[in-house]
Amino acid sequence: MKLDTTGMESAAPVWGSHNELVDGFSVAPSFELPNTTDFDGFQKEAIQMVKPAKGTTTLAFIFKEGVMVAADSRASMGGYISSQSVKKIIEINPYMLGTMAGGAADCQFWHRNLGTKCRLHELANKCRISVTGASKLLANILYSYRGMGLSVGTMIAGWDETGPGLYYVDNEGGRLKGMRFSVGSGSPYAYGVLDNGYRYDMSVEEAAELARRAIYHATFRDGASGGVASVYYVGPNGWKKLSGDDVGELHYRYYPVMPSTVEQEMFEVTGA
């Protein structure tokens, strides 16, 4: 399969491949079709095999001071917990973050590729790329690989000239602009806490606490989420990691064990 290397190609393509009308638009990647009688069925099966289950919890929201981004850190392979310390918040560049949900390799590779493209944009145009532009670049790439089994459910959060920006981009090529998103198997639980506690004018500490709680509650109920709840803040000067707390410890912080009165005491019987 031909990978998308438009970010790394030189500016002048080979002369022969010039096409008047297509000029300015990149050619979609393609690969040879396998020999099957029913290609559509084959494609569906291939996608099912990879099954974008997206066992994770990630969330991001815009508030008065900027963007808050949080995620858990568990990677699961079916019922097996393969890692409790996966970095699901990817640093694209000093002022933009991406979250990982779905296939870890897909998310990591395409976010790095996006970082390359953003840097090339900066060098060519002497100004930073906007969050709108960066999310659109990623969405266009994912759209061109539609149906080929990529599994990516990501949020691009950043701060540009127009202020804070948050976009949700997925492997179908969909791209949504919004104020609050949560992605992954634990997202329903996170949404419950997030939507309940959200106010636009929160301070950074309040917003961080809200994000942390939402991740904790998702990890409490969802088996595919757990590990460490990382919270990042994106402000006018770029992103900053605020905290990374083990969710087990967060549990006792939110629901501490109260000493209770013992109803029946057991004591040693001396003698018979």
Partner: protein, 251 residues
């Protein structure tokens, strides 16, 4: 020397690409074009050949828009210009589609210059025989810009520049008389530069302005005539003042 000027892809022993230099000659034979950048406006002026009687002058627009906020004027082969302009227009829209933002003037100039350069390094083609003056305002910062490209594919930003026929005299005039202007004063400066090399009159000049609020606006012939009259009056007043200063010395 004759052996090194046939193919574009062959350097001469003293480092010239003759085809590119001949393209620059074609530009020097093209109609005069001038561009002047002000603080809130950029003005383009082009020499119009005297009205050919049966031609519908509206179909011969020498100053064109590439997008809502960018305009282009050129000197040289007009057919080549059409091709370049179409490609630039597509690129403007493609940029809007992929990054959801309008192009900056520098970006589209870089694209056009890149296109012109491509045709100086390929087999079986000739360079575009035109130099362009690209003007506009950057989308968010609102900074006005004037850029020039030439057949070799180089480009640079200018406060004021001229290309085409007699461009050297126009450039000399601009160097002597340029100062930071805005609005009406910028238009007058551009027309004064053109009048150095063109017979005066609204019939022989095409002028367009680009502003942040109103985009590209072509000036009517009557408006141009009015400004030309203003310039002539100022010139006459200056002459009279000089004569008045000189008079007392005569006895």
């Amino acid at each position: 020397m004759a052996r090194y000027d046939r193919a574009i892809t062959v350097f001469s022993p003293d480092g010239h690409l003759f085809q590119v230099e001949y393209a620059l000659e074609a530009v020097r034979k093209g109609n005069a074009a001038v561009g002047v950048r002000g603080t809130d406006i950029v003005v383009l002026g082009v020499e119009k050949k005297s009205a050919v009687k049966l031609q519908d002058s509206r179909s011969v627009r020498k100053i064109v828009s590439l997008d809502d906020h960018i305009a282009l004027a050129c000197a040289g082969l007009k057919a080549d210009a059409r091709v370049l302009i179409n490609r630039a227009r597509i690129e403007c829209q493609s940029h809007r589609l992929t990054v959801e933002d309008p192009v900056t003037v520098e970006y589209i100039t870089r694209y056009i210059a890149g296109l012109q350069q491509k045709y100086t390094q390929s087999g079986g083609v000739r360079p575009f025989g035109l130099s362009t003056l690209i003007v506009g305002f950057d989308p968010y910062t609102g900074v006005p810009s004037l850029y020039q490209t030439d057949p070799s594919g180089t480009f640079s930003a200018w406060k004021a520049n001229a290309t085409g026929r007699n461009s050297n005299s126009m450039r000399e005039f601009l160097e002597k008389n340029y100062k930071e202007t805005s609005g009406h004063e910028t238009i007058k400066l551009a027309i004064r530069a053109l009048l150095e090399v063109v017979e005066s009159g609204g019939k022989n000049i095409e002028v367009a302005t680009i502003t942040k609020e109103h985009g590209l606006r072509q000036l009517e012939e009557s408006e141009i005539d009015a400004i030309v009259a203003e310039i002539e009056a100022e010139k006459a007043a200056a002459e009279a003042a000089k004569k008045a200063l000189a008079a007392p010395k005569e006895t």
